[in-house]
Structures are given as C-alpha cells and as structure tokens.
C-alpha cells in the first residue's frame, strides 16, 4: 500500500511539475511588438528547444537554448496580428500569445479618388478616401492627420485636413468653373499620393441658333455652344433641331463641330424650328410664308 501511494504521489508530482512548467511563465513574451522591430523572448529551463512563432500573418521557427533569451531580429516579424510564441522541448511545450502592432510611421497611402471625370461647378462632386499603411502594408489604426489638397485648372486650391479613424479618412471637394485637369493629393506626414481629376464642361447654357433661308432650304446654326461657366461644350455633343409644321414634324440630331452645330432643313410654310441639347432647350424660330 505504501509503495502504491508513493508511486501515485510520484506520478502526481511529475504531472504537477509539467503543468507548472506549462503555466508558470516558462516563456516570457512582450505583450505587444511593433511590426518589424527586434525583440526578445525569455526562456526558462535548460537544454535545447525549438521556438515557433505562428499567426495568420507569419510562421517562424528557430532553434533556441533554454534558460536564456531568444532574439528575434529586426525585420523578421512584420505582419500585424495576434501570434502564439511556442517553445517546444522534449518534455513539454509552452506557449504565450502576443500582438504585433503596425509600425507608427506611415509609409503608404491608399487613395481612392472619384470620379475621374466630372462636370464643372459641382458641389462636393469630388470625393477622396484614404487608408494609411506602414512599410509592411499594415493598416495604421492610430489616429493620424490627413491633408487633402485639390488644385484646380485656374490654380485655386481647396484644402481639408481630416483625422483617420480605424485607419481611414475621407473628404469631399467642389469642382470649379473652369474645365481642365485637377490635381488631387492626399498627404500623411511625408507620404503623399496624387490623382488627376478631369473637369469637363457642363450642360449647354443659353443655347441659341440663327436661321438663314436660301430658296427651298433653311440653314440653321447655333452660336458657339457653351456651358453656364463659359466653357465650350465639346465637339461631338449632340444638338437636336426640330421643325414642326402643319401636320408634320422633322427632327435632326447634329454633333457639335468646331464649337457649333449646323444643319440644312427644308422650308415649310409657317413652320417653327426649335433647338435643344439633352434636356436643355434653346430658342425657337418661326419661318414666314
């Protein structure tokens, strides 16, 4: 009986020893480590072992001497996330969780700017969103100021500063009255990213035509077609001429060429000719007898 008890207690002692090894801080890891930085892991015990560092972002392995320090070199562990450090030895394994956090210094900005092309004079028509990343493409979630700058063709500059939340920030800007290319820049610290936004003329404004009768035909032509800011509406934009007369209707779609649209239409006594482009109506001309 005594022998049996001694064996039982002996077994328990061994088991408790292993458990203590497993839970008793045999491996000490910093709670958080900055991505890409060097750090060390304290290992208790003696002899040789194997250290594993495993997480969704990386898996590393190195041979270690127990009872000392395992050094993880700078640049070895760089993907942010939760990791397990595991020390495997002949008798047992120990593990401890820790976090790799993004480096503090921004190194890249993902900049989504939309649209790439828009009409002039549109309030809040241009939007930009950014995600701020470190050198290892980890999303930096600590708040950081982002400067947005839109330089329009006239040289006017719109500026906004926003602070990131969970790594992202956004802004909206107005397109100005002058057609041409805008430069849209997002900047975080020394890092910037630029996009080109094209401002194009808006809908025609004050569409006006004149008519000149020549025998059985009438030549109708618009004045130079411009938007409300005075930008020339691009060639190829369709202008519709409609002639209505007693019992009839004649419609001709004409693309703008060299700034104007013109067409020759048959003369019908008492007819009215109107002009439009899209939803924009122009003037009307009545043909005499």
């Amino acid at each position: 009986m005594t022998v049996r008890l001694a064996v039982l207690f002996g077994g328990l002692t061994v088991a408790m020893g292993q458990m203590a090894l497993g839970q008793g801080g045999a491996i000490t890891v910093p709670k958080t480590v900055e991505a890409g930085s060097a750090f060390s892991i304290q290992l208790s015990g003696s002899g040789k072992g194997t250290l594993f560092i495993v997480g969704p972002g990386q898996a590393l392995k190195q041979d270690v001497e127990l009872g000392g320090t395992a050094s993880i070199a700078a640049g070895s562990l760089y993907n942010a996330g939760h990791y397990l450090a595991i020390v495997s030895r002949a008798s047992a394994t120990e593990s401890e969780g820790f976090e790799v956090v993004p480096a503090a210094q921004p190194a890249d900005v993902t900049f989504l700017a939309k649209p790439s092309r828009l009409p002039v004079s549109l309030h809040a028509g241009i939007t930009g969103a950014v995600y701020v990343l470190d050198a290892y493409k980890n999303l930096i979630v600590t708040p950081a100021p982002v400067s947005f700058e839109l330089t329009t063709p006239s040289g006017a500059v719109q500026k906004r500063t926003e602070t990131t939340k969970d790594g992202s920030a956004w802004t909206a800007m107005d397109s100005t009255g002058q057609q041409g290319n805008d430069k849209f820049v997002a900047r975080v610290g020394d890092i910037s990213s630029a996009r080109v936004i094209r401002q194009v003329p808006g809908d025609p404004c004050g569409l006006k035509m004149t008519a000149k009768q020549a025998g059985p035909k009438v030549d109708v032509a618009t004045e130079p077609v411009k938007d409300c800011s005075g930008n020339a509406v691009p060639d190829g934009t369709i202008v519709t001429f409609t002639e209505t007369f007693h019992g009839g209707l004649s419609t001709v779609d004409v693309p703008i060429k060299r700034g104007i649209a013109e067409v020759e239409m048959p003369v019908h006594t008492g007819a009215t000719i109107s002009v439009a482009s899209g939803v924009v109506m122009g003037n009307q001309i009545g043909l005499g007898k």
Binding site: K31, V54, G167
Partner: protein
C-alpha cells in the same frame, strides 16, 4: 461488437458537413458610419455574409495549407500575406486550425465612392498549432479585427484582415 445499426449511425455522423457543428455566434452592432454614403441593408448583409464566409476559407486554407482556398474571399494585401503564411507553415511542417466562436461586428466606414467597406470585429476564436500531427499549442483568443472589404465581381472580398489589441 459493432452492429450494422451502429455503423450506419457512425457513417451518418461522418458525412454531416463539419460546418453544421462549427457555427459561430454573430452579433451585429448598429452601423456607425464616418463616411457620407448611405449603406443599404442589402449591401450590409452582403458584406457581412462574405466576411463570415472568408473566415471559413481562412480557417480551411491555414488548416490544410492550401493557398487556393483563399482566392474566392481574399484579395490584395490580405491574400498575399495569408498565402505567404501558408507557404511558411508548409515549409516548417506546421498547420493551424482557427475556429471562430463568436463575432461582434460593426461597420464603421463606407467610402464615398462605394469601393470599400471597413468593419471591426470583436472576435473570439480557438487557435491550435500542429507540428505535423502533434498539437503544439491551443489558445482561446479574444481580439479585435479591423477588416476592409472591396467589391469584386459578385461579392465583397477581404482586402485588409488585421487583428489589433483591444
């Protein structure tokens, strides 16, 4: 002695898809957007569904060391990083099993042009690390993920998949 009836019952259990036993609990917090774009319910539902689907792909891919399992649900940086991890695991003879237990999701940003959705996930999962078939470690993890999804073809794919200390 194994009877025919026992064998049939055992076979039925073996053929039931494992996901029936691995459903994680889900809580979705009210949307708290910092962006100007309104988030439609259909978009929200789709993004959450695709993110949870991505967890299954992630778990299977890292358990089986199969990079191809990531293609349907991950894109860009997150896919590259996970694929690299799988490559490292395979080279070291490791594989990991991630079993999500619960998700507490909140959509925090919908970019103005509609090209990205950011959400946070207070997630609990069990992580097991295997050296070949030997279980090296098991840990219950409670952490906060920051996730960015972008639209591609017919679904949202995970572009950023990053755990952060709470």
């Amino acid at each position: 002695m194994i009877t025919m009836k026992t064998l049939v019952i055992a076979l039925i259990f073996l053929t039931i898809p494992t996901f029936l036993f691995s459903q994680s609990s889900l809580r979705v917090e009210p949307v708290k957007l910092t962006g100007p774009r309104e988030l439609q319910d259909q978009t929200k539902t789709g993004a959450i569904r695709d993110y949870l689907e991505a967890w299954k792909s992630f778990s299977a891919a890292l358990n089986q060391n199969r990079r191809d399992l990531l293609d349907a649900d991950f894109v860009g940086t997150s896919k590259d990083k996970l694929k690299e991890t799988i490559k490292q695991q395979a080279a070291l003879g490791l594989h990991t099993h991630y079993q999500d237990v619960s998700h507490d999701l909140q959509i925090v940003f919908y970019s103005p042009e509609g090209l990205s959705i950011e959400m946070t996930d207070k997630v609990e999962y069990d992580m097991q690390v295997f050296d070949h078939e030997k279980n090296l470690a098991t840990q219950h993890v409670s952490t906060r993920y920051v996730v960015v999804l972008t639209p591609s073809e017919v679904k949202w794919r995970v572009r950023v998949f990053q755990a952060m200390p709470e």
